[in-house]
């Protein structure tokens, strides 16, 4: 009797298993050809040549827009719309041989006129480009033939090819440039699908792409601002990954789950306590030094980023060959900090504001910094801002005392030589150094100059130098080809595919 029943049960179990096996082997076996990536910030618009927001580049650069060159995943520069180039002896003239047969998404041909238009647009008086100063180094753009362009610079620019490989220098068509903010038209492997404001941006595969066609048919960038919602979206499978996951405390959980791959790489993001050098009392070097002595970098990295991040002592990425460790310029030393405050005539401290944009590093870092600075008598009022407000008040309006932000552009130490930059920092010595750097193309000599610059701004304590932002990515373990590091602001999807 027992045996009889047992065999029945076994048969039933087997039948059940085969049903399961059948279901498992069922319909979803064709390789997936779409991907949905979560991004924390919605791009303000979709034209990378008309805004400083990294959120724009992270959607459209490389995927939809291409430049003459492109910064690749390892930081090297590769040819894209330019097939090859020659540089004159004096380093001032670049002759680009352009790729033939490239079409914009609207069907028009790409040629030398588009290059001339795009570069001249960047340096025009009414240019909205975030890197206008870089474009202004261009003397003239000459169309030699439809597939050849000669670019003459005012003086040699050492990293000109790298600059051309960033989102700010992509090539756009004169006919569509004005509409790119809402309806971008480029030459990339993906074309614009739709933008549902507040929700997502869809890209679809471009059928007439000049290069290797991408494996994905559709890519969606979904805007999820809230950390807890981002976590749930990953767990529920609503998104396939976050190139940058904003709540580092959740990474161990993802890492323990075989469904996900946690990939921690580097970014070009120097996370700093930006200081308004033109405003009292921050114009006083002693006050800035006191602040530098009061900062506990380890506490900020542990407390705000749960250990993800590398301490920095100047405005330079630790993984760069020219990096100089300046973290011990002003080691944490409260006594020294208080003494400096007293020397500045502020023994009783002062009150100031700390404006905080939305990212975790800023909001959490702000609370920790406020506690650090309180110890030397500086009372900070924390003011949380949305990105649009931050860009308007702090970045453009320069109306701030202190703020925390990550500068995610590569090798951007030259911003310290810019007159109109929001740090309000003026140092002729550094300006001369940067001018020299621009005119130098020998890599070893450039690195030497980069080193000197790091030292100057570290000693001047222009800003509080906190840490290099880590690229804390998490995505489906079957999703392959996303970048580990972020040498340039982009989420390159050209090599992304689903593994079976």
């Amino acid at each position: 009797m027992m045996q009889y029943r047992g065999s029945h049960l076994r048969a039933a179990a087997l039948a059940g298993l085969s049903v399961l096996a059948f279901l498992g082997a069922g319909p979803a076996e064709a390789a997936k050809t779409s991907v949905t990536l979560g991004v924390r910030l919605e791009p303000p618009h979709l034209d990378p040549t008309a805004g400083a927001a990294a959120a724009i580049d992270e959607v459209v650069f490389i995927n939809l827009f291409e430049g003459l060159t492109q910064v690749d995943r390892d930081g090297s520069v590769k040819p894209v719309l330019a097939e090859s180039w020659t540089i004159s002896e004096d380093g001032k003239t670049y002759t680009f041989k352009l790729r033939d047969g490239v079409k914009f998404h609207d069907g028009s041909d790409f040629n030398a006129d588009d290059v001339k238009f795009s570069l001249e647009r960047g340096k025009a008086a009414d240019s909205a480009n975030a890197q206008k100063a870089k474009f202004e180094q261009i003397e003239a753009v000459e169309v030699v033939s439809p597939t050849e362009v000669k670019v003459t610079l005012k003086q040699p620019v050492g990293d000109f090819l790298t600059f051309l490989g960033t989102g700010d220098a992509v090539i756009v068509a004169p006919e569509t440039a004005a509409e790119n903010k809402a309806k971008p038209v480029g030459t990339g492997p993906f074309r614009f699908g739709q933008w549902v404001q507040g929700d997502k941006v869809d890209l679809t595969r471009s059928p007439d792409y000049w290069g290797t066609p991408v494996k994905l048919e559709k890519a969606t960038f979904k805007v999820i601002a809230d950390n807890a919602a981002a976590f749930s979206a990953m767990m529920a499978g609503d998104v396939d990954g976050f190139p940058i996951f904003n709540a580092p405390e959740n990474l161990p959980q993802f890492a323990a789950d075989p469904r996900f791959a946690v990939v921690v790489g580097t970014t070009e993001g120097e996370t700093i306590l930006s200081t308004n050098n033109a405003r009292e009392p921050f114009s006083n070097l002693k006050v800035r030094q006191a602040i530098a002595h009061a900062i506990d970098r380890k506490a900020i990295i542990d407390g705000a980023m749960f250990g993800y991040g590398t301490p920095i002592g100047s405005h330079f990425a630790p993984h760069h060959p020219a990096y100089k460790d300046m973290t011990s310029t002003y080691p944490q030393d409260l006594e020294k900090a208080k003494a400096l405050m007293a020397e500045a005539g502020l023994a009783n401290g002062f009150k100031a504001t700390l404006k905080l944009p939305p990212p975790t590093y800023a909001r959490r870092g702000g609370e920790i910094l406020a506690s650090d600075l309180k110890k030397i008598g500086i009372e900070l009022e924390l003011i949380p801002l949305e990105w649009a407000q931050w860009l308007e008040q702090v970045f453009k309006g320069k109306d701030y005392d202190l703020t925390i932000v990550s500068h995610t552009e590569a090798n951007d130490i030259n911003i310290y030589a810019r007159d109109d930059y929001y740090f309000n920092y003026q140092n002729p010595e550094l300006k001369a150094l940067m001018a020299k750097l621009e005119a130098t193309s020998d890599p070893a000599a450039r690195n030497e100059l980069y080193g000197e610059a790091q030292e100057i701004i570290a000693k001047d304590a222009v800003n509080g130098y906190l840490f290099q932002l880590a690229k804390t990515g998490v995505w489906d373990a079957k999703l392959k080809g996303l970048w580990e590091n972020a040498p340039v602001q982009a989420n390159d999807l050209t090599g992304v595919y689903w593994e079976d």
Binding site: F231, A247, N250, A299, G303, E367, P384
Partner: protein, 273 residues
């Protein structure tokens, strides 16, 4: 002791303790909460930190005490707004009647037509997040509650003999309202206030939880919950303690309100006396 007494006493004790700890936090907390000590983060309970520490190494018990202060302050001012505006409106509507009564009551219906918390979210979203706007948002929705209670109670009294006697004796409407109506509806208002107070604490927690209420560095229970969200998996106590604090406080206030109502209800009073 009757049931009403029991709930009143329990409610009063709980509410009193919460109020006391908030008051004490003004002058003393076990640890300062504006000095962070990240090296001591996420510790379990110990002699030094009775409830452990949060992600910045702050003492959780101290955080709860200061958080109570924010919750109570927001709820108190919100009830104050409701009472301060709603009560005169309700009394006026009851005494004058006619078009004024209609206008006040239809306005009340209008405000009531929107779910209170949703509207509070709307107001803070429009005016910007912050504790002040949260107070305003919660306060505005307390106005019709008090207006309606005051009007209803005042109307019920209006034909009582002692009111007529007072009028016959030559007292004006203002004095009648102040000296005779108000004292007689006070108990109702107190009960309503205790209920609105607990709702105010819930609303503040809700608004802060979604990021529209208290902003850093101001601590509140809702904000503690908000920050604990992403750490639930490895530090559930960060969410548990403020959550419990909210539940216990709201239960305490509701028991207090229930007890007060039963004790002050004349019909019940007669029976239990």
């Amino acid at each position: 002791m009757t049931r009403a007494h029991t709930s009143f006493v329990i409610g009063a004790v709980i509410s009193g303790l919460v109020a006391l700890s908030a008051a004490v936090s003004l002058v003393w907390t076990p640890h300062a909460i504006d000095t962070l000590n990240v090296a001591a983060k996420l510790q379990g309970p110990s002699a030094a930190h009775l409830l452990g520490t949060d992600q910045y190494g702050r003492d959780l018990l101290s955080m709860l005490m200061v958080g109570a202060r924010t919750s109570i302050a927001v709820a108190l001012v919100a009830v104050g707004i409701g009472l301060g505006v709603g009560l005169p409106l309700g009394l006026l509507a009851a005494r004058r009647g006619g078009i004024l009564d209609e206008a006040v009551m239809r306005f009340n219906d209008l405000v009531f037509a929107f779910p209170a918390l949703l509207s509070a979210v709307l107001i803070t979203a429009l005016m910007g997040p912050g504790a002040f706007n949260a107070i305003l948002a919660i306060g505005i929705f307390n106005i019709p509650v008090f207006a309606r209670v005051a009007r209803g109670a005042a109307l019920a009294l209006s034909s009582r003999e002692y009111l007529m006697a007072a009028r016959v004796a030559g007292k004006g409407e203002g004095r009648v309202t102040l000296e005779h109506i108000l004292p007689n509806i006070a108990s109702l208002l107190i009960v309503q206030a205790s209920i609105q107070f607990s709702l105010g604490i819930l609303a503040e927690a809700g608004l802060s939880y979604v990021g529209l209420g208290a902003q850093p560095p101001l601590t509140s229970w809702g904000r503690m919950l908000n920050e604990a969200q992403t750490m639930m998996a490895f530090a559930p106590q960060l969410a548990l303690y403020p959550g419990l604090a909210i539940i216990i406080t709201v239960i305490g206030l509701n028991l207090l309100g229930d007890g007060l109502r039963d004790l002050t209800d004349p019909r019940l009073r007669r029976r239990t006396a």
